[in-house]
């Protein structure tokens, strides 16, 4: 049952007349739901703002949340839910901040049938507003998750210079296609930038090596070779060595070492055998 224009203006008047009491009751209800995680003054300010938003929307004759007079209200709801989402409140706690308005307003209405109808219509309006907070809450949360996933991707794939002409990639965590792609591109770009003819891929931090992970690592090694750099795989734990053999993964003529130290010694030996002669 949608709000009609007369009902909207009636409620606008009602809100205006009882502003202080309604904001008071509303804040109490919200505070109950949040169990003291926000200060009373903070809540008071938030509900007063929202209250103004509702009043403006209704006074402007908005019978639906999508109407133009409700623009400000929508912006306030978005801000409220995004703040709550970032502060770690649950969806219920966020939605209660809006729903409580209904409880606050009920005692202010008369007992007759007309008031009841008004109330139902108004309640539909508040419901729509609460649903809107749900939507923006979820959207903000999803943005947060996407941001974090991206940060994780950035964080987890450093390419470090280990020695003159030797770079290393310590892989940590599961290696899926997206990450493998990032690692490959980073490593190859670093090879070009630093002109290092040797790269060590350390898989100590990779919890499990299956055929897919092996495939990604092999591709990286072959690509590096095409560019003229040698790759060594290090940090193969005993269980992983067993898995590799059990799965029948062939590393061919790619050098594999047990630890990063072994790999570095191997590389230094290889490059050291020519370095002194060149000087």
């Amino acid at each position: 049952m949608a709000l009609s224009a007369e009902e909207a203006s009636r409620f606008a008047v009602l809100l205006e007349e009882n502003q202080d009491t309604l904001v008071g009751i509303w804040t109490d209800r919200v505070a109950e739901g949040l169990r003291g995680r926000l200060s009373r003054t903070e809540l008071q300010r938030q509900t007063a703002d929202l209250f103004k938003g509702f009043h403006l929307a209704l006074a402007g004759g908005a019978t639906d949340l999508t109407h133009e007079p409700a623009d400000e209200l929508r912006a306030q709801l978005t801000e409220l839910s995004s703040n709550r989402a970032r502060q770690g409140f649950s969806t219920t706690e966020t939605a209660v901040s809006v729903f409580s308005l209904k409880e606050a307003i009920l005692p202010k209405l008369g007992d007759d049938v007309a008031s009841l109808q008004d109330y139902i219509a108004f309640s539909a309006f508040v419901d729509a507003a609460a649903l809107f907070t749900f939507d923006s809450y979820v959207r903000v949360r999803e943005e947060l998750i996407a941001d974090q996933a991206e940060q994780l991707l950035e964080l987890s794939t450093p390419v470090v210079k280990l020695w003159e002409g030797v770079v290393a990639v310590p892989l940590v965590g599961t290696l899926d296609s997206a990450r493998a792609q990032v690692v490959m591109e980073r490593l190859l770009q670093t090879l070009v930038d630093t002109g290092s003819p040797y790269a060590i891929i350390d898989i100590t931090g990779v919890p499990a090596v299956d055929t897919q992970v092996a495939q990604h690592v092999l591709k990286t090694v072959v690509a590096a070779r095409l560019m003229g750099a040698d790759c060594i795989i290090s940090g193969i734990r005993p269980q992983i060595a067993q898995t590799i053999v059990a799965l029948g993964i062939e590393f061919g003529d790619i050098a594999t070492k047990a630890t990063l130290a072994d790999a570095l010694r191997y590389v230094l030996n290889k490059s050291g055998s020519r370095k002194p002669r060149e000087r």
Partner: protein, 140 residues
């Protein structure tokens, strides 16, 4: 038709490909190189592909053919400066360019050739070659 210049630096022929490798250009380069290796008696060829965005299967095969031809003429070929994107594409296509030596840049490519000559002819030759190489490296 555009041609790729072949520069002689010391004992090495340097080919820097700066234009799109069309099939005809690639074949012309193959012929030019064979001629120049014979006429100059150089023992090393460096092909710089750092300006190439695309290396298709034909160019890949031509590079392999050039390497084989020059090996027959006693010159070692090194392909240098392949871009990461090109390398990834080649791997995804399953082309690993067997028989082609690669290096990250011209300098490392020259190192590689010098090292190889040294292994073939002993250390004495290496000293001579290194001295001959040094001005060439700074010039490039």
């Amino acid at each position: 038709m555009e041609r790729v210049p072949v520069l002689k630096i010391g004992d090495i022929l340097l080919v820097s490909i700066q234009i799109d490798m069309e099939d005809q250009v690639a074949l012309q380069l193959q012929e030019d190189l064979a001629d120049r290796i014979v006429s100059t008696g150089c023992h090393g060829v460096i092909i710089d592909i750092s300006a190439l965005d695309i290396v298709d299967s034909f160019v890949g095969r031509t590079l392999a053919t050039i390497a084989s031809i020059s090996r027959v003429l006693d010159a070692e070929t090194v392909v240098v400066g392949m871009r990461p994107a090109v390398a990834i594409t080649l791997v995804e296509l399953g082309l690993s360019l067997p028989g082609i030596r690669t290096a990250l840049n011209v300098e490392l490519g020259m190192d590689l050739l010098a090292r190889q000559r040294a292994e073939e002819y002993g250390d004495e030759d290496d000293e001579d070659e290194d001295e001959a190489d040094t001005p060439a490296v700074t010039a490039s």
